[in-house]
Amino acid sequence: MTKERSIRHKYLNYWCSLPHDILKLIAEKVSFVDCLSMSKVCMSWNGILGEEHPSTQRHGLPCLLVSGRGNSETKTCISVLENRVWELKLPESCGKYCWGSFCDWLIMVNNVYSHEIKLIKVNLVNPFSGSQINLPPLGPFFHKMVLSGLPCEKNFMCMVVQRGIFGLAFWFPGAKLWLPVGKKKGQCQDAVFCNGSFYLLDDRLNVWKIDVRDIYSAYYGSLKAYDGALSQIKTGFYGAPVQNLWNEDTKKSFTYLVESVGKLLLVRRYFNLKRNKWIETKKFEVYALDFETLIWKKVEDLGDEMLFLGKSYSTSFSAKELGVGIRNSIYLCNDPMDRLATEWDDKWDDECDLRHVIPKKTRLRTGVKNWGIFTFGNENNDKPFCFRGDKNMWTDTWFTAPSWWCCRNIPPIQRK
């Protein structure tokens, strides 16, 4: 028997030839870090666990996409939980700005002109699978886009939020154009999707709810008669207890809406302005909406959760399910002072050379680290914060490197 044959013979005797589906089932029952270790066991397991599949929200590794220079084909990604920096080849990003994300999907935008009218072209790009979805062009007056789910799912919906006034627009597969919805007083500070509804936070910290079913019925039901008024869509009003949340510190705070395992969280980040130039975060407060009483209840402990907080996208992960990271923590990236600014305002020249589109206010962040960790229960310590990374030009974006891709491309994560 030749050496090769004897080895093959030995392999045939390896008693563990688990069916592929079983191996995947086991991988679902262990933490992400364990799953990564499983993928490094042998070729066969690597092939099975590295098989490409549409990701689910909590399956993968949270990473920070550093916006960097828009004219580069590669983007720097910081895998904050394993202290690793890698380059993501993203030719689609060339000449574009990353507006936000949803799991492993990125929202890329650039300017286009139609009959001399400036419009924003939106592409949803999955850098891992290579999938792309083009959305109809938008007017240049929106500051945030929220996705209800993965763009590869049939029933997903996008919402864009206008700056200055409380104006919205919706798009979903099958719709030819954006469905505009407006307008009432106030501004929308942040928005998120949670349990079948979009939630919007106005500048008085009131929360508004819009059920996706009402948007579908407004679109299909009264398409001709529809005049784009907010009143035509049923909007749930969730009055926040203003006396608690609206205070002197409000001006020196950012407020975010975050979805975390079916809970709707309101996160307030208080800061000092340092020499009027950059912000220094002082503390965090987290409230959870009680859907029955419609009252925000203060959360003192996030338990196993880690929140990833940012202007363009916030999300949460379980430290236990990941097997790495600091539980009961907020991972933040530094937002520009003017949170309602759109980065491409007035600065986007015809060549789309994004080096010129750095908004003034954002540029003031010189010297500020671009991400950090805040751990609850650590407030009295000298260092409740740990800022890391480098100053940067734009808002960085949290996104998720999907599990299958990590299994193929990154080595096991060392346990501490």
């Binding site: 069916p19 079983i22 270790s37 070729m43 080849k89 680290k369 080595p411 060392q414």
Partner: protein, 181 residues
């Protein structure tokens, strides 16, 4: 209503044929389908041919499991403690059992055994898992797992190094760069 036959004939992977209480065997969806849809198993001559993953030893284990859970009125605590003891077998048999239960589409048992396998894997390095499951080390030679680059410095050391003291440009020289292909 058709009268329930008390026994069913099953043929395992070694071609041996045995008689099993139908009530118990019907717990396995695959056997259930064979009986109801194809009318198999009523005699030794038309015994139900079980998938090759099911050896007589595995069949006996699976039937033990079905027999216990088929009895009504057991408390959740009793069932849980039975299940815990049931999967306290060596890893090799646990794998065989999982494959056999999977081939019979017996989902609750697949779930139980795969959870037990997950617990074995938890917290282990790829090398340790390879040893436990007797799997070939055929990956490291083909795929670059650049272990020599693993940085065991503390987070703060690493970061102050990355940042430099002046908060200057990101220096990624020492850190792995993965190029997406």
């Amino acid at each position: 209503m058709k009268m329930m036959k008390p026994y069913v004939w099953l043929q395992t992977s070694d071609d041996s044929i045995q008689q099993v209480e139908q009530e118990i065997a019907m717990f396995c969806p695959l056997i259930c389908q064979e009986i109801i849809q194809k009318g198999m198993g009523s005699s030794k001559n038309c015994a139900i041919c079980l998938p090759q993953q099911v050896s007589p030893a595995m069949l006996s284990l699976i039937l033990d499991y079905c027999r216990f859970h088929q009895v009504p009125g057991r408390s959740n605590k009793e069932r849980k403690s039975y299940d815990e003891k049931f999967v306290r077998i060596d890893t090799e048999r646990l794998c065989e059992l999982t494959s056999a239960a999977d081939s019979l589409q017996l989902k609750p048992l697949v779930d139980l055994t795969s959870r037990a396998l997950a617990r074995i894997i938890e917290g282990k390095t790829p090398e340790e898992i390879r040893d436990i499951f007797h799997l070939p080390d055929d990956l490291t030679e083909n795929v670059e797992v650049e272990e020599e680059h693993v940085d065991d410095r503390s987070v703060d050391d690493l970061l102050s190094f990355i940042n430099g003291n002046d908060g200057g440009k990101l220096n990624i020289l020492t850190i792995l760069i993965f190029v997406f292909t």
